[in-house]
């Protein structure tokens, strides 16, 4: 197992080196708290193409020149993990490889006798690259999550969404950083994201649970969300309706979002009169779209006096389609 431990260490060091060399920490923490692996691959001038691969998630090629293939048949978070895995092969000087679902089944930072050392390394690289410890810290500070909050599946799921990594890989990565213990990690991974989504959506039952469910609060103001075209947004905001200030939901573009829930909750003593409440607004994206969601809290009779604003930019393009990545296409257009 010493070889495996050394391999995992080598992979995490390689990920940290790449973060340092490309100034990734400054960029990720200045923007939306996620590492754009497709952009990194483009900056390293490694060709990355998306193709509808059968039975494969991705591939790393070396001849005649290094290149990466990633399937179009999976979600954006799986595409991101696969690309990071293939980037790991590239950075660690591995031989060409075809990668199937196994890379998702194996917990990153774990190895068993008989495992392919090269795959162990690439998986550890992918997790350490997409969710380094400093990024966990950044999200926790921004969201006000204490360590104990990361023992709850709802919090880990929201962290995974913001970091752009799968829920399961996030659980194992938190174990690697000793933020949670092994038994907690094991319990967390046994909970399916669908169960978490159901809980977040309350009584609403969507047609399917492919879309993610983002829980947004005032702490997400200014965030840029990268999600999918059928994602749900549960906006939990403190509302001073006791003083006439109401969050306006008319600004949710009716053609882009369906309002599926609007309720108020209170954690204040029941007999307290005039306490602020929590407004819980749930909306579902209707299509692939990019834009800005802006909710304002104001008195209906004083439209120019805004008490609070929750502004979130979103890119709900979802999984990458066939060809170059979106960022690669943008780079190529800019330099054309």
């Amino acid at each position: 197992m010493t070889d495996y431990r050394a391999a995992i260490r080598r992979a995490t060091l390689a990920a940290a080196r790449l973060h340092r060399d490309l100034g990734i920490e400054a960029r990720a923490t200045r923007e939306n708290g996620r590492i754009d692996v497709f952009e990194v691959v483009a900056r390293l001038a490694v060709p990355l193409l998306f193709k509808p691969l059968d039975g494969l998630l991705g591939a790393y090629l070396r001849d005649p020149a290094p290149g990466v293939l990633v399937t179009t048949k999976r979600s954006l978070s799986v595409q991101r993990f696969t690309a990071a895995h293939e980037l790991g092969h590239h950075q660690l000087g591995h031989k060409p490889t075809l990668d199937d679902e196994t890379i998702l089944r194996e917990a990153p930072f774990a190895a068993h006798a008989g495992d392919d050392l090269q795959e162990v390394e690439a998986n550890a690289f992918a997790a350490a690259f997409l969710l380094p410890r400093w990024l966990v810290t950044w999200h926790c500070e921004r969201q006000g999550w204490k360590t104990v909050a990361l023992h709850y599946p709802e919090t880990v799921y929201q962290l995974a969404l913001r970091a752009g990594m799968s829920y399961t890989a996030t659980c194992w990565t938190l174990l690697r950083y000793r933020i949670i213990g092994r038994s907690t990690a094991q319990k967390l991974v046994e909970i399916e994201p669908k169960t978490i989504k159901k809980k977040l959506l309350g009584v609403f039952r969507p047609q399917n649970y492919y879309g993610d469910v983002w829980l947004l609060t005032e702490r997400d103001a200014g965030l840029r969300i990268e999600g999918g075209p059928s994602d749900h947004f549960v906006m939990c905001v403190r509302e001073h309706s006791n003083a006439g200030y109401l969050w306006s939901i008319e600004t949710l573009a009716p053609d882009g979002f369906a309002l599926i829930g609007d309720a108020r909750e209170s954690r204040e003593p029941e007999e307290a009169i005039g306490a602020p409440v929590t407004r819980r607004i749930t909306a579902q994206s209707r299509r692939t779209q990019t834009g800005e969601m802006c909710l304002v809290e104001r008195r209906p009779w004083q439209p120019n006096h805004v008490l609070n604003t929750l502004k979130v930019r979103y890119d709900l393009s979802g999984a990458e389609g066939e060809g170059w990545s979106r960022i690669e296409r943008r780079y190529r257009l800019e330099t054309a």
Partner: protein
Amino acid sequence: MGVAVLRDLRPLFGAIRDQGARPTCLAFAASDCHAALRDGWTPLSCEFAFYHAQRRAGLSPHTGSTLEAMLAALREDGQPIETDWPYLAASPADFSIWTPPSRVGPVYRRAGKRRSDGFDEILALLEADQPTLVLMMLSDAFYSPDSDGVVIAPTNEAPDPLSCGRPRNPE
């Protein structure tokens, strides 16, 4: 449809004050009812009333007041005039430094009485020129009256106990 005024108690009250975003609606209402019962119009310190109501109920300045505590505050602690402890624009960030000024002028007390609910009793009190504090549940439509000042709620919009931070079981 306009509003037909049958009895107008507004001459007993001063100008409407703005509570801002603080949870002090009950303190304002109770304070102004109290002031309306005194001769002339001198606004009383609702910061003082709110402070003592919260102290009595063991509640923070970031949450609402209970009716019982507010009535007890006006009865036992009383209120000085508004200028003795002017209303704070925002809830104190530091709970520990939220205390009344060391010196205030005379305080005025009022033994308010909690009555059973009932529209007839409210009408009778108003008919008798008795300033009356009414607690009620609102819905969103309350905040958007028509040009005549009439609130017309959509048929599917029921009063929401939380629409104005009101308790689930109204007094």
